[in-house]
C-alpha cells in the first residue's frame, strides 16, 4: 500500500474552489412512512452540504432514518418534503453518478464476479467494449480480486463479496459513493482490511463518499466529518470534524478519543429518544 502525504489529501479536501460549489446538497428533506396503523416520521428537516472528495459518515441509533436518507440521496426513494441537489442538479431518480454499496448481499448470482462489475459498465454508452473490460479488470485488481474474476458469487466470502460490490459501484466512475453499512455483517479483521482499502481507493480517486454506519470507530476512521442523527423523528443533532491525517488506523489513540466523544453524544440522544 502506498502511503499518501497527508498535506496533499488536505489540500484536495479543503480546496477553496470546491467549498464554493458543494458536490451534494440536501435541503430540508423530510420523510414519513405511512402504514394503515401508524405514520412514522422517519426524517425531519434534514439539511447537509457535502464538498467534493469529502467523506461524511452518518451515525445514529438504529431506526433513525440513516438508510432512508441514503436512499433519498441515491434517488431510490422520493422525499415528502425538501430536495437533493447533486452538482447543482435536482435528483429525481437513481443515476449512475451516485452509486450505492448495500449492507445486504446485492451481487447478482446469475453473473460471475467479472459479469457483476461489467453490469454497470454496459450501461455506459460512451465506453467501448474493450474499455469496459479494461476498467473491470483494473477495478477488480484494485480490490485485490483479479484472480477471482470467473468465480461465482456464492463461492466468495462475505468480505470478498463486499469488495466486488465496491468494485461494481466504482466501475462506472460515479461522482458520489453511497455506502449503507457495507461492512456491518463482516468480522472485525475483514472490516479493518476494508478500511485500508477504502482509504487507499479514496486517496487515489478522490470520490465523495457518504458512509452510513453504527460503528463509531469506523466513522472516526473514515470520515472527514461525522454527522450524528437522533431517532423518531430522524434529525441531524450534531456534527463532528475529524481532523486526523490519513491513512488512519482504528487503533490510533486520537481516533479512539473522537469515537468516544461521538459515542457519548449518541448515548445522550438515545436517552432523550426513549420517552415512549
Amino acid at each position: 500500500m502506498t502511503l499518501l502525504d497527508p498535506t496533499e489529501v488536505n489540500t484536495r479536501n479543503h480546496g477553496p474552489d470546491i467549498k464554493a460549489s458543494p458536490k451534494l446538497v440536501v435541503e430540508n428533506v423530510s420523510k414519513w412512512f405511512r402504514t394503515p396503523r401508524a405514520s412514522v416520521h422517519a426524517l425531519d428537516n434534514i439539511s447537509m452540504r457535502v464538498a467534493a472528495s469529502e467523506v461524511v459518515c452518518l451515525v445514529g441509533p438504529s431506526g433513525c432514518g440513516k438508510s432512508t436518507l441514503l436512499d433519498i440521496i441515491a434517488g431510490l426513494t422520493k422525499p415528502d418534503a425538501g430536495r437533493v441537489l447533486a452538482d447543482g442538479q435536482l435528483v429525481t431518480g437513481p443515476g449512475r453518478q451516485r452509486l450505492m454499496v448495500f449492507q445486504e448481499p446485492s451481487l447478482f448470482p446469475w453473473l460471475d464476479v467479472f459479469g457483476n462489475v461489467m453490469f454497470g459498465l454496459k450501461l455506459c454508452p460512451e465506453l467501448s467494449g474493450s474499455e469496459r473490460r479494461e476498467i473491470a479488470h483494473r477495478l477488480l485488481a484494485l480490490v485485490g480480486l483479479e484472480k477471482f474474476e470467473r468465480v461465482h458469487v456464492h463461492e466468495l466470502s462475505g468480505g470478498m463479496k463486499q469488495r466486488v460490490a465496491l468494485a461494481r459501484a466504482l466501475a462506472p466512475d460515479p461522482q458520489v459513493l453511497l455506502m449503507d453499512e457495507p461492512f456491518g455483517a463482516l468480522d472485525a479483521t475483514t472490516r479493518e482490511h476494508l478500511y485500508d482499502d477504502i482509504q487507499r481507493i479514496w486517496s487515489t480517486s478522490g470520490k465523495t463518499i457518504i458512509f452510513v454506519t453504527h460503528n463509531m470507530r469506523e466513522a472516526a476512521c473514515l470520515g472527514d466529518c461525522v454527522l450524528l442523527m437522533s431517532a423518531a423523528p430522524g434529525r441531524i443533532v450534531q456534527s463532528f470534524d475529524i481532523p486526523l491525517p490519513r491513512p488512519r488506523s482504528i487503533y490510533n489513540v486520537e481516533l479512539v478519543a473522537h469515537a468516544a466523544r461521538i459515542a457519548d453524544a449518541l448515548r445522550g440522544t438515545v436517552g432523550q429518544g426513549v420517552s415512549e
Binding site: L99, F102, E104, S106, W110, F119, G120, L123, V153, P172
Partner: protein, 255 residues
C-alpha cells in the same frame, strides 16, 4: 461408477423379488404376472409398434397441453405477484382450482367437448396452469428487492431491468414452476387418457384402460412401467441440466 453399481443392484434385486414372489404360486398369475412376462409383453408391443405409437401419441398431447399451461401460467403467475389485488383474486382462484384433482375436470370436459382431443387438451391445461401460476407467483414474491434497487442505481430501467435483472433473478422459481407444471400435466393427461376413450389416438392411458378391460395384467403393469420411465426421463433430460446450472450459480438447492 460406484453409484451406477448401487443403482443397478437395487433395481435388479427389486426385479428379482418380484419374479420370486410371482413364481411362488401364492397368487394367480393372471393377477400377478411375472416380471419376465411383463418384459415379454413390452418387447412384443415395441416390436409390433403399438407401444411406440402409444408413447408418441401421449407425448404429443403432453407437449401441447404442457406448453399451453406454461405459456398461460407463467405470465399470469407474474401478474399475480405484481399486486395484492391480483393475489386476492387470481391467486385465490388458482389456489382453489389447484386443489381440485384434475380428474374432476373430465366430466365437464366430456360434456363440453365430447370424446375429442380437445377434451383431453382441456383437462391437461386445467391440471397444469393453476399449479404453474401458484409456483411462479410464490417465486416472484421471493426475489430479493435488493437486486432491482442495485440495478436501478446503475441506471437500469424499463425493458433492460426486466430482461437483465428480473428474468434472470427469477430463473430458480421459473424452473420450479415449470417442473411443478410438468408433474401436474403428466398426472392430468393420464387421468384424461383413461377416461376419454377416443379413436383419434391411442395413448399410454388408453393402453392401461384396455389392459383392464381385457384382464391383461402384463399390459397394465407394462404401461405403468413405461409411464414411470417417461416421468423419470423427462425429469433427467428436461430439468436436471437447469437445476445443475442453478445450483452452480446460486450455490443452493433450488426448485
Amino acid at each position: 461408477m460406484k453409484r451406477l453399481i448401487a443403482v443397478s443392484l437395487f433395481f435388479t434385486a427389486l426385479l428379482g423379488l418380484w419374479e420370486l414372489a410371482a413364481r411362488s404360486g401364492h397368487w394367480s398369475p393372471v393377477l400377478f404376472p411375472t416380471a419376465a412376462s411383463v418384459g415379454r409383453y413390452l418387447w412384443g408391443a415395441i416390436s409390433d409398434g403399438t407401444l411406440t405409437e402409444a408413447i408418441w401419441v401421449t407425448l404429443k398431447r403432453l407437449l401441447a397441453g404442457y406448453t399451453i399451461g406454461v405459456v398461460v401460467g407463467l405470465p399470469l403467475g407474474l401478474l399475480t405477484s405484481a399486486s395484492q389485488l391480483m393475489e386476492d383474486t387470481l391467486g385465490a382462484l388458482a389456489l382453489g382450482l389447484q386443489t381440485l384433482p384434475s380428474v374432476c375436470w373430465v366430466p365437464l370436459a366430456l360434456l363440453w367437448f365430447g370424446q375429442t382431443e380437445a377434451a383431453m387438451l382441456f383437462v391437461v391445461v386445467m391440471g397444469t396452469v393453476w399449479s404453474v401460476i401458484i409456483a411462479t407467483n410464490h417465486g416472484a414474491r421471493t426475489i430479493p428487492p435488493i437486486y432491482a434497487r442495485a440495478a436501478r442505481t446503475m441506471g437500469s430501467k424499463g425493458l433492460h431491468l426486466w430482461t437483465r435483472v428480473m428474468v434472470p433473478a427469477s430463473l430458480p422459481f421459473l424452473v420450479s414452476g415449470m417442473k411443478q407444471g410438468w408433474a401436474f400435466a403428466w398426472r392430468s393427461l393420464m387421468a384424461a387418457e383413461i377416461y376419454v376413450t377416443i379413436l383419434t389416438g391411442f395413448g399410454l392411458g388408453q393402453l392401461l384402460h384396455y389392459g383392464r378391460e381385457l384382464n391383461a395384467m402384463d399390459q397394465v403393469i407394462g404401461a405403468m412401467v413405461i409411464i414411470v420411465l417417461i416421468g423419470l426421463l423427462v425429469d433427467r433430460i428436461l430439468f436436471s441440466p437447469w437445476e445443475r446450472f442453478l445450483h452452480r450459480r446460486w450455490g443452493t438447492n433450488v426448485g
